[in-house]
């Protein structure tokens, strides 16, 4: 038969693979820088981000390194301040979405049956609608307060996560070790906690990475489209300064760069992690 798995001693931890992955480290550095900007930014900001430091759309100068924006506020300071809420929102949305999706996916995967099939079919149907559309539909129905926004983005992800985790759970429940656990009489709760969860954890981790990226992309886009939190954030900066591109490109280019660095970094980080997890589970 064909389970000639290698009896290799170097089963290795995830770190073992990550340590030698330059793309992972590039991503990690990019994300770390942006996170530091977002967290410590308000302390580092040279000016009050709401204060007027000069005329509007001034080019970069010694007092304002990245120039001023449409209201004559310091672009650099706004850039530094604009990440905190954005990161919190994205983190919250992804966490809520993944939590809900994981719970749903595992429940469906463990219970199966008709209810599960119907729910799964519904969630598959939801996935037909492009995500941004789904979020906009929710916003149209419930209005666009910052909290609604976060919840809408989270909701739009649930079906996807549930699908992935359902599949991962399905793989576990058809394994013999799961059967063995059933045979000793473990209840559903224990089965989920002790057999399913530890084994879908890598899938959850990768999925969380995916959902984080997608939440950030969605929030930035919504903010750009004018459904943002109303506070300073990068998507909104691009939106409000887009008209001045020819006068003061930095007011647009700077947030675009930060956003791009962050999202690209997230992707590299996540792909690196996924590669390492895959390499480890390949044994």
């Amino acid at each position: 038969m064909s389970v000639h798995a290698q009896h290799s001693k170097t089963s290795g931890s995830v770190w073992h693979f990550l340590r030698r992955d330059p793309r992972f480290w590039a991503g990690a550095v990019a994300v770390a820088i942006v996170v530091v900007i977002a967290v410590a930014g308000p302390l580092l900001a040279p000016h009050d981000p709401a204060a007027f430091v000069g005329k509007l759309y001034l080019r970069p100068s010694a007092t304002s390194w990245l120039g001023t924006d449409v209201l004559g506020r310091d672009v650099l300071s706004r850039l530094l301040v604009g990440g905190r809420l954005f990161l919190i929102q994205g983190l919250t949305a992804a966490t809520l979405g993944v939590l809900a999706g994981v719970v749903l996916g595992i429940l469906l995967g463990v219970t199966r049956g008709t209810t599960a099939a119907v729910l799964l079919f519904c969630s598959d149907s939801v996935m037909v609608i492009p995500q941004i559309l789904l979020v906009l539909l929710i916003l149209a129905a419930f209005g666009s307060a910052p909290l609604t926004l976060t919840v809408a983005v989270a909701l739009a992800q649930v079906a996807y996560t549930a699908r992935v985790i359902f599949a991962a759970t399905g793989r576990v429940t058809t394994e013999d070790y799961y059967r063995a656990a059933r045979a000793v009489g473990m209840g559903t709760g224990s089965l989920v906690l002790r057999e399913v969860l530890p084994n879908v954890a890598p899938a959850v981790l990768v999925e969380y990475g995916v959902r984080l990226s997608i939440s950030f992309v969605a929030l930035a886009s919504l903010s750009y489209l004018g459904f943002g939190s109303g506070d300073v954030d990068w998507g909104a900066m691009i939106h409000e300064n887009q008209g001045g591109i020819a006068l003061q490109p930095w007011a647009v280019v700077a947030p675009v760069l930060v956003l791009a660095a962050f999202l690209l970094g997230m992707n590299l980080l996540r792909d690196g992690l996924a590669r390492a997890l895959a390499a480890r589970s390949a044994r």
Binding site: M1, V3, A183, G185, M186, E195, P198, N199
Partner: protein, 517 residues
Amino acid sequence: MTAQVHGLSIGVGGGGPLIVADLELELAAGEVVGVAGETGSGKTTLGLALLGHLGPGLQRRAGQVVSAGLELLGPSAVSGTQLRSARGRTIAYVPQDPAGALAPHLRLESAFAELHRAHRMEFSPQRRAELFERVGLPSDDAFARRYPHELSGGQQQRVAIALAFCLKPALVVMDEPTTGLDVTTKLLIADLARELAAAEQAAVVFISHDLPLLFRVAQRLVVMHEGRVVETGTPTAILEHAEHPYTQRLLAAWRLGGSPAPAADGTRQVLSVRGLSAGYGDVQILHEVDLSLGVGECLAVVGESGSGKTTTARAISGLHAEHSGRILLYGEPLAAEVGRRDRAQRRAIQYVFQNPWGSLNPRRRVGASVAITAQYLRGLSRAAAEELAVQTLLDVGLRADHAQAMPQHLSGGQRQRAALARALAAGPEVLVCDEVTSSLDASVQADIVALLKRVQAERGLSMVFITHDLALAGELAHRVAVLKDGRLLETGPTAEVLAHPKDPYTAELVRAARLAS
């Protein structure tokens, strides 16, 4: 000489470990050379090297391969077009899994046409028909217009062999061409290889880890171990004076034989299965199966792949509730679903799974996996359960420190022992062993069988031993039940069934088992 391998060493990357070391081999036309060896011993690597092919990341370190007068590997090896035109034409390859190796979008005749086209040769349907006839396939055109998925596994393998011999190659490498086939087809293929080698005057390299099969097919045998040839000679010579300890172990495993320990009390029924029918969704797999198992007895359930052996085992263990019929433990009917059985019942029947790679939770230490059974089924405290787990691991021949290991750090045989320990930790009365040795190497297989025999005797266990290997059944079981297509064909004391099979199918199985030995 058709082909020569001289001092060949192949390693991983620039400085990685050697996979094939210092290998010498000579092949003559019309000769079948068998290559044996446990998994990972370098058989495939050698086979592919004969075609001048190295897997990704592999490097030739020393030596050369000359096939049909062409240096395929070596300091002045041919490459490019020359190499390409040698492959398929002068040296052909028969892959292990024909289902995956035949291009799904090509009709059989197109596959032949493609091969000819690649070598700029005229394709003649007569040659194809002749070859099909020779390998025992229908030679008509309608058959040739089929797609691979319209063939059975054995037929696919024969098509692959026909393709390999099509351009009259000087050398054919067959890499485990019989894996996944049932015993009868296996023997047919082996005979075919031998006939074709003689008829087409080709040298054939027949790779397999099935020692009995090689004894039957090969004129010369090469035993590999850790990338080196440890033994070479005619089958008889090897049988008589095997020198290398590894070969000796292999032979010992094969000759093991023996008879089961006497049953404690064959008359009292531990377990009986009455009119068991089961299926998956709309498909019915088992039809009215009746089995009974006496105390201390070992019942072998024998049948080919897909006959419903695992399904039966799962139904008994309460893991396949989609069934009708009754399963009785000491005359008490058992609930279909394991969750509905009480603790004593769950504890009485323990299941050891077919595949050791999936039966232990990869995120839990081996010791904990074993301890859980004791905790749940014997109501032991955690500490007591862990202590018992260690004890049981020792019992099945593992070390105490294995309790702290993760399953992925154990070999297949070790895992199977751990899985057995998990079952034993419950203190069962009936052990259901589902092909517990089929995914293990021959030498490991023998150890496990010996272990099972021992624990059965020591603990007075009753056992349902599921296998597709009648020979193994003879060694362990007091009684045999033969399954085919989900129906019970016959059942009776092992010796009797082996000596006087009633059903023609059983007779066929018995004959195949004899032939193999």
